[in-house]
Amino acid sequence: VADLTPRGDERGRGQILLVSAFVLAVAFVALALIVNSAIFTENLAARDDVPGSQNALDYRYEVTQTVGTAVTAINADPDSSPGDIDESIEDISLRAGTDQSVLGRSVVIGYESHTLGTKIAQDEPGNFTDASDTGDWELAANTRARNIRLNVTDRAALDGSSDDPFTLVASDGADEWRMAISADSGSVTVEVETPAGELESCTRDLPEQFTVDVTAGTIDGRPCYALVRQTSGEGMYFGVGLGASYDVEISNGDAIAGTYSMIVDSTSVSSIPYNSYPDDPYTENAIYSVRANYEFFTSQVGYETAIVVAPGEVPP
């Protein structure tokens, strides 16, 4: 190789150009590699640990919801009996399998067992009193309850009851969880007191008819933190701080008007305070929870687990 800049030799300039172009090209290649690896790292970071594993969990949730709908539907349907759940799950498995097969996934849901409970309900609007029109009564003893929904059909019945408001009580003998509903003309207050002594309330302007979903923690479809959690994280939901089983009671059932329903985890609810269906209030055999087996397979992921479905149950 000749000198890069031989004096008086203009032809040598081409070499400088050549070398600098070469350096520039290498620099660009290096830059491209760096930028691409940065993009690739970001991309990897946003992906699942195992490709498609998130789908297995997402679909498990959907299956839980679907089986929950089947449980709710069977409990609500007078023509169905709790024993129908195994056929329903078989049907769901067939549909879910077909649905997911077009996405390249294989899904099988197998019925395992169910726990019987009792549905306690009042379908015709009226006071929340027992069969003999007593306002203070025990709905069920030594049990747990889920899916407690109170539909108030006449807000005026709550009016002026702030001294002795309608109260739903869960009591394990030592402690009590209490929820009182009172109203002052249009504004309704739901007040919750936990065994830990926490007291919280939600006050809302509500229409003449509204629903208090005690276990979902909503009033007229909107969340009420007094039924869920305080901002400090302290749980307020139904039966929090009580033992594994508790008594469910109503006080001042004549200070409210509407319908209600709940499912309790007991098959031996005393029949004394109840009428027989279709007279209110009544009890009926119902499914408390269902256990099923869930299998999810793709070419990359295999996942199998047992799911327990009890729609409207409060967190443990």
Binding site: L17, N43, Q65, A70, S88, D99
Partner: protein, 182 residues
């Protein structure tokens, strides 16, 4: 003009050309960085379906069926919504998630037939998806006692999906959102 000069000029051009390859990423070009955008779109589509399924507006739009006209209530004459989404909670969620971000989407309801096959009913259509479209779906379970906007329960309604469910169940539909950047 020497051979070196010509070669070096060519080399420089090739180097610049190569460099341009790594920067010329438009929303429509397939590359690792648009894969990133696809991932984001995928997740936000799943989020839209998840939140609307949770607050009930997804089920409400699936049931927004006009029995007399055999089409979605207030839809175009083709039977489904074209262009803008329906005026509903689900439509508003889609609008907030996609329209302002230049994302187009189709929504399709897949349902089961008595024969055990799958059929589909278009719900919203905004055009043909591009090669970079993402798809997310969510199951909606229908019961015989669910009601159409006119108050008829599904068990006795003239609905697009047939009653294939066991006992009080009606059908299990899969709502699919196909979204792509425009």
């Amino acid at each position: 003009m020497t051979l070196e000069a010509v070669t070096s000029a060519l080399l420089l051009l090739v180097a610049i050309g190569f460099a341009l390859q790594m920067t010329a990423v438009t929303p429509l070009s397939a590359s690792t960085s648009s894969q990133h955008l696809e991932n984001q779109l995928q997740k936000s589509s799943e989020g839209v379906l998840g939140s609307t399924a949770e607050n009930g507006s997804l089920k409400a739009i699936v049931l927004e069926w006009d029995e007399d006209d055999q089409q979605f209530a207030g839809a175009d004459s083709v039977g489904y919504y074209r262009g803008s989404p329906p005026d509903s909670a689900f439509g508003d969620t889609l609008e907030r998630a996609y329209t302002d971000r230049n994302v187009a989407y189709n929504v399709v309801v897949h349902y089961h037939t008595v024969q055990g096959t799958l059929e589909q009913q278009e719900l919203i259509e905004q055009g043909d998806p591009s090669d970079h479209a993402v798809s997310a779906s969510r199951t909606v379970t229908l019961r015989d006692s669910d009601t159409l906007p006119n108050g008829t329960s599904l068990g006795s309604a003239d609905f697009y999906a047939p009653d294939v469910g066991d006992g009080p169940m009606y059908n299990m539909v899969r709502v699919e959102v196909i979204a792509w950047r425009i």
